[in-house]
Subunit: 210 residues, 2 copies
DNA sequence: TGATGTGAATAACTTCACAGCG
DNA sequence: CGCTGTGAAGTTATTCACATCA
């Protein structure tokens, strides 16, 4: 997919996701062609930036015209690996876990949460939004049997490291972590952490200094 | 706080938050002094980077020794504006909103969610984790009366823009947005958006390409 | 000796500016 | 004519390397 051995800036990948959101919105509205300027108008990104981002992966536009919305949407989905669906599991069925299980945004775009795990016997056996809650003792087995590659951790901070270790050992390749803890995992596993208190912390900094 | 007119990289502010997490952890464990290398060991950040980040704001370390954990923790809290507590409101009491209301991480570090708003009469009047749910018609009034400066949006995407507009008009200075929509707001208002589907999207990209 | 603080060097990212093409 | 694609220029961020000080 990616051109030669050029390194892709991490920010470029993140922006691709943003373009995708706009493209889906536009496609829904029936827009067929879009310029780089219009694509980025409401994203605090310049048109030049979008063009540069896209050329890391190929030439998808038509000079003098713009980008075909449907084609570019599909291209970006292909680049990101969203052209097929992903089996995802979620570990930790507290309030945040339950909220994510019910979140429509995942399912809509190719992420299918197939099972949730918890160590609380009261929760095991129930379902949240059609997703069954399974005892965490069966987690490894489930991962192997169903070839799961992506996991979301919504367990308490104290439990997160041990869960991550077990996930890594069972063959998970990517983790989205919501526990406010740095997780030590093998290099080859992709991880991204979302720490909501941290987001607020950097936000208020700018309150003082602007 | 900030030295002269030097511009602070956005990433520096974000890292400050990370250092803070480590420092709090270390302080709890009774560690009194820490080197830049140890501070960043589990953060994928180099010691040099941390030292550079910190010198934007002053000289807090002792050559040959390191940083006093307690002193540096307080300094960073002061830099970020966490040396006093912030009144925060939350708008949209769906599952995610409810999860955040119950999230202990906010309260622990100086963020006090004082009220939640919703337009659903069935929810209004109830409380979630001691936070009262108020009709969104009284939102503006509440913000003004209580001098609220920070708001969290956990409403559906369709409603987010209108809510943001109303928040902006009532004098809110910072918004943490969980709705997957770009929000148009006055320049002077700080905004940070967390889009969980987007996080997953960029995560799976690296699955394909590493 | 050991770790900070910091200019200088390097690397990474973004913007500019325009040739080229439909 | 308008907009893409892209080298070149400009800007910003990170790493290096070492003087300095306890």
């Amino acid at each position: 997919m990616q051109k030669k051995d050029r390194r892709i800036p991490e920010e470029t990948v993140r922006r691709l996701s943003l373009y995708l959101r706009t493209l889906r919105f536009m496609e829904n509205k029936g827009v067929q062609v879009i310029s780089s300027e219009r694509l980025t108008k409401h994203l605090n990104i310049t048109g030049a930036q979008a063009r540069k981002d896209l050329t890391y992966f190929g030439s998808f536009g038509q000079p003098g015209v713009g980008y075909n919305v449907n084609r570019l949407r599909k291209k970006i989905e292909e680049i990101l690996g969203l052209d097929h669906s992903w089996n995802v599991i979620l570990v930790g069925c507290g309030k945040l876990g339950a909220a994510l299980l019910a979140y429509p945004g995942f399912r809509r775009f190719g992420f299918r949460i197939t099972a949730a795990f918890d160590n609380n016997p009261d929760k095991v056996g129930r379902t949240i939004g059609k997703v069954p809650i399974i005892t965490d003792q069966k987690m490894e087995e489930f991962i192997r049997k169903n070839d799961v590659k992506v996991a979301i951790i919504t367990a308490p901070a104290e439990a997160a490291q041990e869960i991550a270790r077990r996930l890594a050992e069972s063959g998970i390749s990517a983790i989205l972590n919501f526990a406010p803890r740095y997780l030590v995992i093998p290099e080859k596993i992709q991880i991204k952490s979302v720490d909501m208190a941290m987001e607020l912390e950097s936000l208020v900094y700018y309150l003082k200094n602007h």
